[in-house]
């Protein structure tokens, strides 16, 4: 009993997180190579080489950082990613943690991510890191509402805040077709949460690396790993909320889940490579004036659809 209820779920979550984070590196490298980025070694080896290099590199510090917070922030971001992935159901029977309020738990992961990323920039005690952190808070406080409305939209037809119920409610039709605005808006939230590609305001190049500008060596490794892990957790949530989770013909449930997560990851990484970064000054207006009303429309659409 303890094996099936405790060890197996923990193993599934942590193994997915590790393998998924590695695959994020592989897919991103492959997309970059296909788009003409200079390539050094094979895409399969590059993430491992970079990881080993960061692990052995000397970690630089600043003059007076907030040590405890500085070391805690990357680890906490990784822990948040693991918690988020733990509520993702793999099949009707294989659900690491089948909480009745798993949608709420994912919402709290999104909210706490903002706190952790701000902590990372703040605790370094350097200017560029702090600017990255403040920029991120503006983004984080803006995307969280969009995310919540979109997720409430998928909870309406399921009549539940449980991800396994949300997946089960998509047996006839997936939410990506039923609520066409939902997935595009949620993908924007995912890019914001991991500050990836067009929404990389926290660690952007124009801030010389932003919150990670003074971070090198093992802490940088954990930070990069946590970002990739958060992308994996997000793709799991997006696949179960909009793409029907384990549902699908012929193949077993967990395999469908893996395929759908990889598709979401590939789309996110492709957007990350193709779309330029949005201007931080315009980001807040874009989120509140354009995307938030769109998420209202998505919610009304989902509500009408659920009643008909």
């Amino acid at each position: 009993m303890i094996v099936s209820e405790l060890l197996l779920p923990v193993f599934v979550v942590l193994a997915t997180l590790a393998v998924g984070a590695y695959l994020v590196g592989v897919i991103d490298g492959a997309i970059g190579a296909a788009l003409g980025a200079p390539r050094g070694q094979s895409a399969w080896l590059a993430p491992l080489t970079q990881g080993a290099w960061l692990l052995t590199q000397q970690a630089n510090t600043t003059e007076a950082p907030d040590w405890r917070a500085w070391r805690l922030a990357p680890a906490l971001y990784l822990a948040l990613a693991a918690t988020g992935l733990a509520v993702v159901p793999w099949s009707p029977t294989l659900i690491p943690t089948d909480l009745t309020t798993s949608v709420v738990l994912w919402g709290s992961v999104e909210a706490l991510a903002t706190v952790v990323i701000f902590l990372h920039g703040w605790s370094a005690n350097t200017l560029l890191a702090l600017i990255g952190a403040y920029r991120y808070v503006a983004l984080g406080l803006s995307y969280i509402l969009i995310s919540m409305f979109v997720l409430i939209g998928v909870a309406l037809p399921a009549e539940s805040l449980q991800f396994s119920q949300v997946v089960a409610s998509q047996a006839e039709m997936w939410n990506v077709i039923r609520q066409p605005l939902g997935l595009p808006l949620f993908l924007i939230v995912g890019l914001g949460m991991t500050f990836w590609g067009p929404f990389n305001l926290a660690d952007s190049r124009d801030l010389a690396g932003g919150t990670a500008s003074a971070v090198s060596g093992p802490p940088r490794l954990v930070w990069n790993l946590a970002r990739a892990a958060m992308l994996v957790a997000f793709s799991g949530v997006a696949a179960s909320a909009f793409l029907g989770g384990w549902l699908g013909p012929w193949l077993p449930g967990p395999l469908w889940m893996v395929i759908k997560m990889l598709v979401v990851l590939a789309v996110l990484l492709l957007i990350g490579r193709l779309v330029p970064r949005v201007q931080p000054e315009r980001c807040v207006t874009l989120m509140w004036v354009v995307l938030l009303p769109l998420s209202f429309i998505d919610l009304i659409w989902a509500g009408m659809e659920a009643l008909l």
Partner: protein
């Protein structure tokens, strides 16, 4: 059991994150002081990094609080929505309409501008 699993996942990930940093760095020496100067494109730091920083999106954060409160009502509302039918639509519709007036007012006042 569910919460115990969740706690273990959280603690293992947190421990792994801290452990990688600690194990790899316990034999490293601290970098020299010139190396520790913050990166400012070659410039010297003239002020403390935590000195006054103007958070220009501050009114937006206040507007967010109204919506965060609203989310608290929305979670239980989502569960009973189909059961209650049009009554639930009307209730939440009125609530969201009132909050939307706040967004429009904030927009007019330039709350979402960052200049």
């Amino acid at each position: 059991m569910e919460l115990l699993t969740l706690l273990i996942v959280l603690l293992v990930a947190l421990g792994a994150g801290l452990g990688v940093q600690w194990l790899a760095m316990c034999h490293q020496t601290m970098p020299t002081y010139p190396q520790r100067a913050p990166f400012l494109g070659g410039g010297l730091p003239e002020t403390h990094a935590w000195n006054r920083y103007h958070v220009r999106y501050y009114p937006m954060t206040l507007l967010l609080i109204a919506f965060e409160m609203e989310m608290m009502f929305m979670y239980p509302w989502a569960v009973v929505y189909v059961e209650q039918g049009m009554k639930a639509v009307m209730e939440m519709g009125m609530f969201l309409a009132i909050l939307s007036v706040g967004i429009v007012y904030g927009w007019r006042e330039g709350v979402f501008k960052w200049q």
